[in-house]
């Protein structure tokens, strides 16, 4: 999958608020343009799982929609599996799938099995292929008894599993996921993540997913792309993003009895060890290359009963990143 200078601009009308604005807009409309995706370039190898991160309106979903052929790009080149997505050739559509957390492809009033049979006919699967794929996915997703239940009677989590089943029945080579765990409880989120990991490992499916849940990204993606205001801000390993944005780690020691923090302050030049009120816990925010030195120093202070080294939570890091970007844009 290769993307070069991909852009998408939406046109819309600006209207003043209220009834008066509505009436005036009948006669005079101001046409505006909004750049949703701005010259984005990247490539994804077969078999990769890549996470797409960004705040609301960053351009993640718009990019995803251009990659699967739903949206016509305003500029740039896209090639997925050697096809130009927007041409929507049958040979291309038969090798991709998009699962959208907020849009359904299942017929609402009848059991999901009927939609699956339609998928079989649409993708030209033989009975044997259908049976094998259905059996495998039903087992992985643990949805066997639900196939004959009306879709509208399924819970949100069950429906999402059925959406995945319907989307994957034809064994796509590339899977696009837009908020696949939105609205699911913690247990269902975990099951969907496990399923996607197995799918990637066993079928070699290339997966590109957007999610607001950092847990999804952390659990599945080694590589992430961060997009904000339509521009690609970062493309690389998740660990590298964390290191770049949060160079400090938190080293913390818990002691059996009170220890003197002054000793640590003397030894750890340039760092600021902080001690809790009960004098039994000391915390130090340390650069990655001084973590070992800090840990050794803390262990020398007294009889330690626990020592932890923690990353700042990824969710916090990313939130801070976008907040910081907004702040620097506002300030001159």
């Amino acid at each position: 999958m290769t993307v070069e200078n991909l852009s998408k601009t939406y046109r819309h009308h600006q209207r003043e608020p209220g009834l008066g604005g509505s009436v005036r807009s009948l006669f005079r409309r101001q046409s505006l343009e909004r750049v949703a995706v701005d010259r984005v370039s990247f490539s994804i190898e077969a078999g990769e799982i890549v996470g797409f991160l960004g705040p609301n309106g960053a351009g993640k979903t718009t990019t995803l929609k251009m990659l699967c052929g739903l949206l016509f790009p305003s500029a740039g080149q896209v090639s997925v599996l050697g096809f130009t997505p927007f041409q929507r050739q049958a040979a291309f559509l038969e090798r991709i799938a998009l699962v959208m957390g907020q849009k359904t492809m299942l017929a609402w009033d009848i059991p999901a099995m009927e939609t699956l049979l339609l998928q079989r006919d649409m993708y030209g699967l033989s009975r044997a292929e259908f049976k094998a794929s259905l059996g495998e996915l039903t087992e992985l997703l643990d949805v066997g008894p639900l196939l004959q239940v009306q879709v509208r009677k399924l819970s949100l989590g069950e429906r999402m599993k059925m959406e995945l089943l319907a989307a994957l029945l034809h064994r796509p080579d590339v899977l696009f996921l837009d908020e696949p765990t939105i609205g699911l409880d913690v247990l269902s989120q975990q099951r969907v993540r496990d399923f996607l990991r197995d799918l990637n490992r066993e079928r070699g499916t290339t997966i590109l997913l957007t999610s607001h849940y950092m847990d999804d990204i952390e659990a599945l993606c080694r590589r992430v792309m961060v997009i904000d205001r339509g521009q690609l801000y970062f493309d690389g390993e998740l660990a590298a993003l964390v290191e770049r944005l949060a160079p400090m780690k938190q080293v913390q020691a818990l002691y059996a009895e009170a220890v003197p923090v002054e000793q640590a302050r003397l030894e750890l030049d340039g760092l600021t060890p902080r001690q809790d009120d009960d004098l039994r816990r000391i915390r130090v925010a340390a650069p990655r290359d001084r973590v070992v030195e800090v840990a050794a120093c803390l262990l020398r202070l007294g009889p330690a009963i626990d020592l932890t080294v923690e990353e700042a939570p990824v969710e916090e890091i990313v939130r801070d990143l976008f907040r910081e970007r907004r702040r620097t844009e506002v300030e001159p």
Partner: protein
């Protein structure tokens, strides 16, 4: 493969529609209301005036046949197509290797398969109420032509609605346009007034406008009010409208998909 997909879609639509059979019965009663009211009005008019080209028996037969024909050629897809385009409901269909129009065809055919068996007893009741005035044609040739004509009429009606609904690619709200179309259709298709009752000066225009071929033309064919040449010309107009509207659909969708915003996630 397309036929297999279409058959599957139709079966799914029938299954979904059977979920709402109670609502359909009410819909049927509503559908019969227009021809029955029109019939009663025209019977009152014909009783008090002379010189109308239609007599009482012709009115009864016309509206009885119209009640079934209008069901076969009826369409309701325009607003759905427009809503799917505007709100992004099109997206799940665009991602699959089957054209979206196939789904709408299946919905149209599937609903009619469910609705027709419900409609026929109601029409039979209507026929029984006016049994002295019903004179159904006896010429098998007329019925054969009528049967050939119906799918073409349904196709013209379907494509008219589909192409109008598809304007939602560019126009934010096509509901107004569709309302005007449904109103025009009531008059120009021969639903409120048989086209033969319009002033002769208008016949030239009325004969070639597309709404005639969605409803009035099959009725004119079966009631034997047309010459052979007029029947042949009518068939050619129907086929011409089908081809032209299909071309409009293809052009609309070729450019429309470039403007599609795929709203929502």
């Amino acid at each position: 493969m397309t036929w297999r997909v279409l058959r599957r879609m139709i079966a799914m639509d029938i299954m979904q529609n059977l979920e709402y059979r109670g609502a359909f019965l009410l819909y049927m009663v509503g559908l019969l209301a227009t021809p029955v009211i029109s019939l009663l009005v025209w019977l009152a008019v014909s009783a008090g005036s002379h010189g109308l080209p239609f007599d009482r028996q012709q009115f009864v037969t016309y509206y009885l046949l119209l009640s079934v024909t209008s069901m076969v050629t009826s369409v309701w897809l325009g607003p759905w197509v427009a809503e799917n385009i505007r709100l992004g409901g099109l997206s799940p269909w665009l991602l699959r290797p089957a054209p979206y129009i196939l789904n709408q065809i299946a919905n149209n055919v599937g609903e009619k398969i469910v609705k027709l068996p419900l409609l026929v007893p109601l029409v039979a009741l209507l026929g029984f109420a006016f049994r002295g005035d019903v004179h159904l044609p006896t010429d098998p040739w007329a019925w054969l032509l009528f049967t050939l004509c119906l799918p073409l009429s349904a196709s013209v009606a379907f494509l008219l609605d589909f192409t109008l609904g598809s304007l939602a690619f560019w126009v934010h709200d096509v509901r107004g346009l569709l309302r005007v179309k449904y109103l025009l259709s009531g008059f120009l298709a021969g639903q409120f007034v048989p086209l033969e009752l319009f002033p002769p000066a208008l016949r030239g225009v009325l004969d070639v406008q597309p709404f005639r071929y969605t409803l009035s033309f099959p009725l004119e064919v079966v009631t034997g009010s047309l010459t052979r040449t007029q029947v042949l010309q009518g068939f050619l107009w129907q086929i011409g409208y089908c081809v032209a509207l299909w071309a409009v659909y293809r052009v609309e969708w070729h450019f429309g998909l470039r403007a599609y915003g795929a709203a929502g996630a």
